[in-house]
Symmetry: C2
Subunit: 121 residues, 2 copies
């Protein structure tokens, strides 16, 4: 079973797409199914002012990415870097264990996008 | 890469949900990722008059299910039974080989829904 919050973020995902002229982009692949997750960010004075995700992955991947983007928006890079896979699962009131591969994609992609931004600046 | 048709059916899936008071329901699980696919049908005089799908699966699962429901609607049960996994992939101008597990779910669930209807009548 999926929680109400997971279903809500799956049916009405927030921040789908790619930000225009991104300051950082992170991409990761799911080793189990091969699906990709991409997170792009806009950064102003060390704050994530905009963030979007793109994936062809499953409902768990979509729901966690939607939640990750909500959590990261408006945060400083240092704060956003600390958003863990577990934080995201907790915010969604839990996820099925066998979908962890899918639900880790978004936090990993966010961290890579921040890394990408830091490398460039 | 995904074809334009796959992207279209992923972004704008047709016939999402469940038909009211279904005459047949078929459910199958994806052995790789554990995701479920459900297809429900309304049947009148051996013709599928309405059909909907529900899944928490990935983009390939969503796109193929959307296409399968479009192909099956208005067909007789005998015709719909012959819709193969390959027919669906062909109609979408192809699917990545490693996503075949996901893209077979919809045709299988349709066949199960027809089986379910035949058992009941
Ligand atoms: S099954 Fe591929 S991302 Fe979940």
């Amino acid at each position: 079973g999926y929680t109400e919050k997971v279903m809500d973020h799956f049916m009405h995902p927030r921040n789908v797409g790619a930000v225009a002229d991104p300051d950082g982009v992170g991409q990761v692949g799911n080793p189990v199914c091969g699906d990709l997750m991409e997170v792009s960010i806009k950064v102003e004075k060390d704050v994530i002012t905009d963030i979007k995700f793109k994936t062809f992955g499953c409902g768990s991947a979509i729901a966690t990415a939607s939640m990750v983007t909500e959590l990261a928006k408006g945060k400083t890079l240092d704060e956003a870097e600390k958003i863990s896979r577990q934080d995201v699962a907790d915010e969604l009131d839990g996820l099925p264990p066998r979908k962890m591969h899918c639900s880790n994609l978004a936090a990993d992609a966010l961290h890579k996008a921040i890394e990408d931004y830091r490398k460039k600046t």
